[in-house]
Symmetry: D2
Subunit: 356 residues, 4 copies
């Protein structure tokens, strides 16, 4: 049994924990096993950069952040285009797979990486995927590993801001990752006790945001905390065409949404605003226990699918069970916050404003 493995896309916590689960279970399931780790994601598969992984490589990495294989972003959009030297990337990957006489390939990846995994699966390779992303935006699984670890870091940032905020009359903005999806911001905002939560799925009205701040101030709260998703968008901008919006982003003087929001809030309320951008810290550090257990279980399930020769699937958490879902059914689909969902309604009942 010869298994290839790679980690692809933006890195996150528990990548190593997942590989440990795959590796330890495979070594217990197969007597005659060789595992090859591709370096820097699909890059290693394309350019045949890999090394053999021993049983001992999977020890002591359960709580180590990052990935021992490295990762890179190989955009799906251009996967069918030749590289700068004219190399056909998909053919190159298939070539590496065959030259190494692999029986299957394990891919740890998020949205874009799973599209590539599905493409490889459709073109005949045996693929098993594990759902990796701090954004928890993958269709087909209730949870991805990385999410709760990243939420933990974002929440700690809001916690720290809370103690200092209570000492001053100020508005604090904490910018949280998540690309186009607001799940991280929603959870960290709820967990951190944010007063206002702005997410891409619910375009915000700057007036509603400022009214909430002024209302809080009127009723004795000197400070307000805004948890804003990096992909949050104002109602006006949400009406723009995709092209026009991209143009606006490219031209604006602010490095991110937070600074623009800070300026707008200050202009309209006259209250000082401070911005915190935890940035890539949200992808780093040791995974929280929740993610370690989830990742380990995903890894073991991937190993069991290999044992059963059941390929073309992503392992997933569905209603408490670790299951498989066909890659072709979920690749390329995103999971968004539903503005009418139970959790959003609950948040509003708590008094949180979404700026809508």
């Amino acid at each position: 049994m010869r298994v290839g493995m790679l980690t692809s896309g933006g890195d996150c916590q528990a990548l190593n924990a997942t590989m440990r689960g795959v590796g330890k279970a495979l070594f217990n399931l197969f007597d005659d096993l060789e595992i090859y780790g591709f370096e820097s994601g699909y890059h290693g598969l394309i350019y045949s950069e890999y090394h053999k992984m021993e049983r001992s490589d999977f020890s002591g990495i359960l709580n180590i952040g990052g990935t021992i294989l490295g990762t890179s972003r190989t955009p799906f959009k251009t996967i069918n285009e030749p590289d700068e030297n004219g190399l056909d990337k998909v053919e190159a990957m298939k070539h590496t797979y065959r030259q190494l006489r692999l029986d299957c390939l394990v891919v740890l990846g998020g949205n874009g990486s799973l599209k590539t995994a599905n493409l490889l699966s459709q073109s005949g390779l045996n693929v098993v995927a594990c759902p990796k992303t701090i954004d928890n935006d993958l269709w087909g699984t209730d949870m991805t590993f990385g999410f709760h670890s990243a939420v933990n870091i974002a929440t700690e940032a809001i916690d720290c801001i809370h103690t200092t905020a209570a000492s001053h009359k100020r508005v604090f903005i904490v910018e949280i990752m998540g690309h186009k999806v607001g799940l991280m911001t929603l959870y960290a905002g709820l967990a951190g006790g944010a007063d206002i939560i702005l997410i891409p799925e619910i375009p915000y009205h700057i007036d509603a945001v400022c009214n909430k701040i002024l209302e809080r101030y009127k009723y004795g709260s000197k400070f307000s905390i805004i948890a804003v998703a990096e992909g949050a968008i104002s109602y006006e901008d949400s009406l723009k065409s995709k092209k026009d919006y991209k143009k606006k982003l490219a031209e604006r003087k602010y490095p991110s949404v937070s600074y623009e929001l800070a300026d707008e809030v200050f202009k309209r309320t006259g209250i000082e605003v401070r911005v915190t951008v935890p940035g890539h810290t949200q992808r780093g550090g040791a995974p929280v226990p929740y993610d370690r257990v989830l990742a380990t279980r995903f890894g073991i399930e991937a190993a069991q699918l290999i044992k059963k020769q059941d390929f073309g699937n992503m392992v997933a958490l569905v209603k408490n069970d670790i299951v498989k879902v066909p890659l072709k059914d979920i690749a390329g689909k995103l999971k968004y916050v539903n503005p009418d969902s139970q959790i959003v309604k609950e948040a509003k009942l708590l008094g949180i404003s979404f700026g809508d």
Copy 2:
């Protein structure tokens, strides 16, 4: 609308977060609201010790450990017996409830406390309960608040032990809470990378434990880490009658199972053993974000049940949804680790020994 509230039993993280959810949502749902907090659990309800809780009492407590109402253990077994002054406790509770003209009572409690809540509900009081315990051993809900926070602390203990263990030839035992249920130990053991996990549901053979240690040593691992539940039991002891086992516990010279296990392992392997007892630290500290969100949602759901006058229920998490379950269906039932469950099988596939 007049609502009573109490926290009962062993304390845990996110009690305050839950009360905040209840309180904030109730104040947003009712114009004419009075909340009375009973002090030290059912004790306050029995002896009419309470204070009015204002809207501001629910601010700033989201991430504070412990409970602002205090708690105590009032054993269910003796709930129908008069107290030392001849007071009928159940009647006293009903009396307080009526004298305060309460419309309902919110109980945050675990196994024993929910039995009492059900008893009060059966005898005509309007009761809504929230599932509180680090043990996650309550029937009817997939998760209780406190569990992931406690697992986090237990896992951090194993993490710390891991770094130091790797420097010495030793066996390390970490004793984890959970009463008669092994869920906390199973999760923390998986998350911390324990080599051996001993839980009440799977009685252990001391020889199997020692063999695992010696086998690891033989294959180059100088150390072994055992995560042992405070309620773990040897196979021999598990055959004893309940009475005989209690007698043994009462007579043994060890303060807890860890120290007995340590002596047995040392006697049989000659390898030094070190014991860590995180003890009540597992109930303390700030709740992790997971628990804050879960507790907040439970609290809001409790408030909504009150709004709907839908009493006699416990709020619960069932397959991702916050729902209600009738108290009469779940009170007194415990949720155990199933030795044949998917997660135990996975752990074994990883190479973890349960001593069976």
Copy 3:
């Protein structure tokens, strides 16, 4: 004995721990004691906003961030100017002091606040000060409380970045507080293992910074981490007049030095750069044990100075001892990083570049 107390300036960790030390020790030293807490720093002293503090107010606040008294910035520059209603601030403070028949005033403050404390002391009030600031930039004390707590948060940010950095080819910039002084950045940079440390005391050459990055890349390190002080300055800018530099800052399109540096590095090296701005999280959260002990000791020493009627001093840590230093000798003086100091030389010996 009647004691006034206030916390002034930017808040930091262990303000409450210090007040607890003062309060608990005073209540043990005096039978007949009244403590008055002024709200929002000197603001409360000017406008007579205060409340009496009881013994119980000092319980349970040892590890709580922020300040139970609130704080504000009352700039020293304008302290002698009347407020918008024509009120003479200094006279107002003296008036409040006398009307409350205070025997002394305890000020917890940083650089600007201590200048005001000294002014009040010079004009006849009995003042004892405690050195508060995350920047550790106060003359006369080896250490201020808040510093190690803030360094801890900044270091955790670098730690998180480290795990994720190692997975990608990138430059990461972490912006660290400290105003005009580089101590926080130096310590957090050393503790976090930064490759480049940029501080105000050592103006940087952008070419030296880029060369270090490229050199690291050449020798196999895919990533570089820059710890940059919020007050860091390029060599060119350091040659500008203060006025010209302020003008530049006011006009630049970047919200802070990090974003400008990021653009410059990307332009010159072509390597992707990511910016993290922990911002005010560095002032928040629970104080680390070091700060709790230091703050407690400072507070007790302040109480002892009051007992001895020894006024006009700041408590300080000098070579392991808690001592007093006259306010008039230290107010207004800043402590900088000496570019020729032992610790900077050591950092260079480790291979760290300061961009000089």
Copy 4:
């Protein structure tokens, strides 16, 4: 230049950080350098078990707990006795040193290990030592690395206990490491807000301890927290001869002082007592930033001493400066808590009881 290195005795945080400091600085100071790492402390030196350490071995270990070289306890008492095969250990170490043609040996160790280092130095080897121990009990340096990291963990345990303690009427005992010295317990007790601190240097009267608990209870504090050093001793026991005391310890039924104390307190006060034993967690986990900086600086200073060929010294922190002290002046001397010191008096002024 050929340098040997070893880590000896009980492990602690920042051992790797120290070696990184030594290694990185040495590689920058010498063109022609070979470093040999001995495995498992003096064991590796005696039995010639070592490996060459490359520049890259010192990367990425700054915040990793444990030691990449392993450690062991080789008791100084028996260092002059032959091993079980008749091998003269001191001669064996000298033999290994010479056979490897070492120019010097770097020892990271605590009390016992430094005695051996001094013995080797006296017998002609070139030795440089770094002061390692969580106990901070080494003579000649104000601080050892590991201390603040261990205090941090012990303090977190007390913090967690604090939140849960406040919910119940109980006494909580937290047992803290430190061997015969109470520094860790004193610092963690102060930082955690313990009510009672029991250390070896101040033998306790059980009556004084119980009186403090009852007095607190009388004045409204339902709980008390005792920080007890593992080496704490009652006044009665302190009067015993060393032999008699050891006999008592060997015969007592309790695994450690905490459990005995718990029984005594319960017997005399009737209040429930709960015991927490963080144990070896105090040696584990990542070092705090303070220790990383201190360890790094110690390591660099050790490298500089090697460059200057200045041997027979331990690096030390003395009044803020990193200096050297002759091994012969400090080996074998312990630093205790002085019961009359400023910090103990301060603690008493705060209301803390030492049971004296």
